[in-house]
């Protein structure tokens, strides 16, 4: 009597030689996939960016409700930078509050506007599939996400600004720099995650990752140069007065 043995199949057959093993989805992918959100109007966009980032990412990819997102993110970005600008200005006295509140949004919106063409063109050149409207929405979403963190930090920053004496300007400068860095990083983090989520879900590239990183560096440089040119925190400058010079040399000034 002969017994035929069945060949034992491995539970998970390995992929063909040379092909990478598919990584299991990260927990946040699943979380983002379960997010549901439809913007009721521009003012509800902030809630979507906080609570349902996955839904916002899908809307951006499918170009759904982009006008609402553009309006909402633009409003949020301007409002947050206006409020935080006023707080930044309060360090240099009451007179500077208005100047800084007007000039800081100009710096933020201006830097985004200046960097938008390069974002769209280089993304398009590297094979990313996004329209100009999607590019506008993506840049504004980055700004709005950063603005949300600025809004969250605003009460704490305000309290430190009013309760700290003039001789501690270094501390305040450092604190504001940390807050701005945190908020900008969060904005970039949101866009980078959107890119990874879309790549995972649809197997397509909404952005090119390397171009995104390089472009973000460019945006930071442009914002720093814009701040140096317009000077939202310089109490000696008038509302329309600008100053030429490289931002690094302005940082080195005593």
């Amino acid at each position: 009597m002969s017994i035929e043995l069945e060949a034992i199949q491995p539970l998970d057959s390995p992929p063909p030689y040379g092909r990478a093993v598919a990584a299991p989805p990260r927990p946040w992918f699943t979380r983002w996939d379960n997010d549901r959100f439809s913007p009721a109007g521009p003012l509800s966009v902030g809630g979507g960016l906080l609570r349902a980032q996955g839904a916002v990412a899908r809307d951006l990819f499918e170009a759904r409700g982009l006008n609402t997102y553009i309006a909402g993110c633009g409003l949020l970005m301007v409002f947050a930078s206006l409020l935080y600008g006023a707080i930044l200005g309060s360090v240099a006295g009451a007179g500077q509050v208005l100047y800084a509140a007007v000039k800081f949004p100009v710096v933020i919106v201006g830097a985004c506007a200046i960097c938008l063409p390069s974002f769209y063109v280089f993304q398009a050149l590297t094979g990313a599939r996004l329209s100009f409207k999607q590019a506008v929405a993506a840049v504004l979403m980055l700004g709005a996400a950063a603005g949300l963190i600025l809004l969250g930090c605003a009460p704490i920053a305000w309290f430190f600004s009013v309760s700290t004496s003039e001789d501690a300007n270094d501390f305040l400068g450092l604190m504001h720099a940390v807050v701005l860095a945190l908020s900008t990083t969060f904005g970039f983090h949101f866009i980078a995650r959107t890119h990874r989520y879309v790549a995972w879900k649809h197997g397509e590239r909404l952005f090119d990752g390397r171009v995104l990183v390089l472009w973000f560096g460019l945006l930071v440089l442009a914002a720093a140069q814009m701040a140096s040119f317009i000077g939202p925190l310089d109490p000696e400058r008038g509302m329309l007065e600008t100053r030429r010079g490289f931002f690094l040399s302005a940082l080195m000034e005593p």
Partner: protein, 226 residues
């Protein structure tokens, strides 16, 4: 209120689940009342070192300190929670934050009789006794803070069913960072043993806690010849 506090201390998971399902105003008011009473007891204990006007001023100041810090930190705490993946409404975040804060204040209130005893019986004026009381209060504060965080961690874990370390650490850092400056503005707490009769907040809205710590550190390094 007693049942609510019993749940909060004995079965925080149950408390948080009930609070999450129905974050009612009444529940928040009870938590607030318990927190304010605990903080007042702690404030009175600290103020008893100098006594007189300082006693009631510190009694009022302590709950104000905790609540003002919460008010400043709340927007960022709510945003942190949402970004940590916890889909909370602002009322739910408030209930969770008040639960943690009330636990902290209740723990401080529980330590208040002991601290009060030491404060009232310590010699005055004496820099050594002031420093001893300072260390005692700091130790009780750290203990209460850890207890509050533990309750918060258990409660939040039961709500999210996953790791809550990141939002919890963020909450603690945000609250501590801001609270240190609020406490600095509202100083003195234990009270300098010298000339407290003329108590005023004229020093307030000046200076900075972190710059103060930095200055002390530099002075200390200079003293030891580093």
């Amino acid at each position: 209120m007693v049942a609510l506090l019993g749940n909060l201390l004995h079965k925080p998971e149950l408390h948080f689940r009930m609070a999450w399902r129905a974050p009612a105003v009444g529940r928040n008011l009870y938590l607030l009342t318990a927190g304010v009473l605990g903080a007042m007891a702690w404030g009175a204990a600290m103020g008893s070192h100098v006594g007189r006007a300082h006693l009631w001023i510190t009694t009022i100041k302590m709950p104000l300190f905790l609540l003002f810090t919460l008010a400043l930190c709340f927007p960022l705490m709510h945003i942190t929670l949402l970004l940590g993946g916890v889909k909370a409404r602002s009322a739910q975040t408030l209930t969770v934050a008040l639960s943690g804060l009330s636990t902290l204040a209740i723990c401080l209130g529980a330590c208040a009789p002991v601290v009060g005893l030491f404060c009232a019986s310590a010699p005055i004026p004496s820099m050594a006794s002031y420093l001893n009381l300072y260390v005692l209060c700091l130790a009780c504060g750290v203990l209460a803070g850890i207890a509050g965080l533990r309750v918060l961690a258990r409660g939040m874990r039961s709500l999210c069913g996953g790791p809550v370390r990141a939002p919890l650490i963020a909450w603690a850092l945000i609250y501590q960072f801001t609270g240190a400056q609020v406490a600095w503005v509202l100083r003195p707490w234990i009270g300098s043993s010298y000339g407290v009769d003329g108590y005023s907040l004229s020093h307030g809205l000046s200076g900075n806690f972190y710059m103060g710590v930095w200055a002390v550190l530099m002075r200390w390094l200079k003293e030891i010849g580093a």
